[in-house]
């Protein structure tokens, strides 16, 4: 059931605030991975952040933000479960995608509409091993 218009307005500021925190943390942790730090705790946090961002974006009906977060979540989940690695090319794509998400939040703040994230979504699909 779609969220009521009243609730969308009421919870938009909280969404933007928490989503920004998740994206900031995602970027910080991705940079750690790019610099060569690879510890389980960093992957766990990345997985959780992508998961939380997915849930709240879908609830607010920001579908592109939800989809891109789902792809990130699945990429980090596969790494957590030792089903795949995170070579530099994936990390670069994830970092680019996180910057697109950050821009998207700025656009949502101004217009309540999402930026077109289809290119970033396509660039992650190949790595996420899920069908959307």
């Amino acid at each position: 059931m779609p969220l009521s218009q009243d609730d969308q307005v009421k919870y938009k500021a909280l969404y933007l605030q928490t989503a920004r925190q998740y994206i900031d943390e995602l970027q910080k942790n991705l940079h750690q991975l790019i610099q060569g730090t690879e510890i389980d705790k960093v992957i766990d946090t990345l997985h959780r952040d992508a998961h939380s961002l997915k849930g709240q974006s879908l609830m607010m009906e920001y579908k592109s933000m939800g989809t891109i977060s789902l792809l990130m979540e699945k990429i980090f989940e596969a790494k957590k479960e030792n089903k795949s690695e995170l070579p530099e090319d994936i990390l670069v794509k994830l970092d680019e995608a996180s910057r697109e998400m950050s821009d998207c939040l700025n656009i949502i703040a101004q217009t309540s509409k999402e930026k077109n994230l289809s290119q970033a979504i396509e660039s992650l699909k190949a790595y996420a091993n899920i069908t959307i």
């Binding site: 059931m1 969220l3 609730d7 919870y11 909280l14 969404y15 928490t18 989503a19 766990d44 946090t45 997985h47 959780r48 998961h51 939380s52 997915k54 849930g55 709240q56 879908l58 609830m59 939800g66 789902l70 979540e73 699945k74 899920i130």
Partner: protein, 121 residues
């Protein structure tokens, strides 16, 4: 009716707490599994709404410890899930969860009916 909401995401914690309180449901909230288990030592809810992916102790850890403490099946647990968590829901059921709520598709009437039916059993 008393509910313990264990959810690390501040957005969902605030949203669901507020919606449940609007229906005169007493809500205590915990921001991770460890805090939730601590609250269960002194607070006996009629139902637990439990997120799965959380820091410190996740939803599976909470279910395991609740079972060890014989709080399951005494206190019914509904797990919060979102898109792509089918495996997690199955695992949670095996650990004693009574069902799940897709937290991204908010349907309060459905959730409320579910809560009432489980809380009354």
């Amino acid at each position: 009716m008393k509910i313990l909401l264990i959810e690390d995401d501040a957005f969902f914690r605030r949203f669901y707490s507020s919606k449940l309180r609007e229906k005169n449901i007493e809500v205590e909230a915990a921001s991770d599994g460890e805090e939730g288990l601590k609250q269960l030592q002194t607070y006996t809810p009629d139902l637990v709404l439990l997120d799965i992916i959380m820091p410190k102790k996740d939803g599976f850890d909470v279910l395991r410890e609740m079972a060890q403490l014989h709080l399951i099946p005494k206190i019914p647990v509904l797990v919060f899930s979102t898109l792509g968590q089918e495996k997690d829901i199955e695992k949670a059921r095996m650990l004693g969860a009574r069902g799940y709520v897709n937290k991204s598709f908010f349907d309060f009437d459905k959730l409320y009916a579910r809560i009432l039916s489980l809380g009354e059993k």
